[in-house]
Symmetry: C2
Subunit: 304 residues, 2 copies
């Protein structure tokens, strides 16, 4: 039930219609680890920060029982920074700046004791680094990968090579269209599955998510959020909840993949209720179960 | 179980990436009636055509057992014409032209025998005409209404007046945002319900539909269409399937409203598989049942 998470640790500056947060702790590895930690422990994290990464950021991860042995700290370097602004409907965001900083020279080193992790979750980082991680692993049972338009456009060849080693790819609808050159999402999923991943999950924000395998299409509803405070980290929290549930249950059946998608959606819904990582700080397993059941009510109907 | 349908009968010129159809039979009343006719018979239609409306259009409706007593034929007039072009992903369309023709002077007259219809479905026409219809009815049990951005923008005051008399409003997501001035669809639904309708259905195209009441949010999946041939009439077919099922069952419970939404989605999915009204020509009740069950499989998941 061991899970390795590789991704970014960041200081995000986020503007939403509700306020501005400067240099708040974020990054794909942080959100994924925190979300997954509600299902399985410990989560093993590999990433890099500069000397300016705040202690409370590390303390947050330690409280969530995340193993930080694989975290590189470049004392004289600056942590990766991202800055973005959400438009008034929170469905779209503009990236204002991206400063790779210590990420520019990041060379992921997987500690010896991490190499037999059964589940590997590759957060949204350079596909070359994603493959470097896989090269160091000893036969993981399942490899889950996130990516984004940035890599699809700028490292397309490298991403296509990495995809050959991926079991489950998670991406959003516009990224699926971009990667597949196919506007129809069902067809896009088929194209992407032909590139390597046997399972593709397409996140559609306020419209839920699609789970696509060779046998099945599953349509997961979105939680009816009235008060989204900060959408940052929703996608990574989705990945974390998904990975956490899969790892906890060690069951790759289609029925269980569906449940994992709903647990991913559940964690994403908690994430966006507060600013930054706060929505993932103090959840209980009971809260998570209750919301999972709400998802079921949301989409359930009887034949007669 | 009597259903009155009021709306447009049109000659549509449609451009899709797959071809061009000129002056093909369409219009909201045609699609709604044809879709509803698979659930309940006869459907009573009120609308207007010019002398140029082709006999095969009328024959199509008669084959579907639609009662045409309420159809006005202006022998020396021209039928309403709409022309539009779909973009390559079929999710967006541009209206190229709208010629009201005989619709400009349309004054809906409800035949005596129609006035006690239990269910009234007001297709997407001028809200002033929609209210004129209601003024002639004798206590319908349920009034279902469709509208569009055109009326929201140009006849806002009149539409708000009409909404006071509507039980169930069906509109799409961008129209819901426009009408409510609220980007969040759950909040938009609440705003719209405060204007009159106790039930609001928000259609989201390839993302399914939301059913909103004061007690419930229901998220209906979209059928995973790989080959959409012509999206024209999808929204009206949805309304027709919805109205048809509600009328057939005479059951306004929330559980049955959910089923009606799925039957609406079912008829819409058949509609878009062929050009114009062809997708609604020769369905069987068994085909409809089978697809309804497919919708259930698409969104079903178990707790464990």
């Amino acid at each position: 039930m061991s899970v390795l998470v590789v991704g970014s640790l960041a200081l995000d500056t986020i503007e939403t219609p509700f306020g501005l947060a400067k240099d708040t702790v974020g990054g794909s590895a942080v959100y994924i680890s925190a979300a997954a930690s509600y299902f399985v422990n410990p989560i093993r994290l590999v990433g890099v920060v500069g000397g300016d990464f705040p202690n409370h950021g590390l303390a947050f991860l330690e409280e969530r029982n995340v193993d930080l042995e694989g975290l590189q700290v470049v004392e004289n370097g600056r942590t990766f920074r991202w800055s973005g602004r959400y438009r008034y409907d929170l469905n779209e965001r503009d990236t204002l700046s991206t400063d790779l900083n210590v990420f520019e020279l990041f060379d992921p080193k997987i500690p010896e004791k991490y190499r037999k992790s059964r589940t590997v979750c590759l957060g949204n980082i350079d596909p070359v680094l994603q493959r470097k991680v896989l090269d160091q692993m000893e036969k993981p049972r399942v490899v889950i990968c996130d990516t984004m338009n940035y890599w699809i456009e700028r490292k397309n060849k490298e991403l296509l090579e990495t995809l050959k080693y991926i079991n489950i790819l998670i991406l959003n609808d516009s990224e699926a269209r971009l990667l597949s050159h196919e506007p129809n999402l069902i067809k896009a999923g088929r194209v992407i599955r032909s590139l390597g991943p046997s399972v593709v999950i397409i996140k559609k924000g306020e419209h839920g998510a699609l789970l696509l395998t060779d046998q099945m299409v599953f349509s997961a509803p979105a939680y009816p959020m009235e008060n989204i405070f900060d959408p940052t980290g929703a996608g990574d929290s989705f990945a974390g909840g998904f990975v956490g549930w899969l790892s906890r249950t060690d069951d790759m059946s289609e029925e269980n993949l569906k449940r994992a998608v709903i647990y991913g959606s559940t964690l994403a819904s908690f994430c966006v209720e507060k600013f930054g990582v706060e929505g993932l700080r103090d959840l209980t397993y009971l809260q998570i179960q209750d919301r999972f059941r709400e998802f079921r009510e949301l989409s359930r109907f009887d034949l007669d």
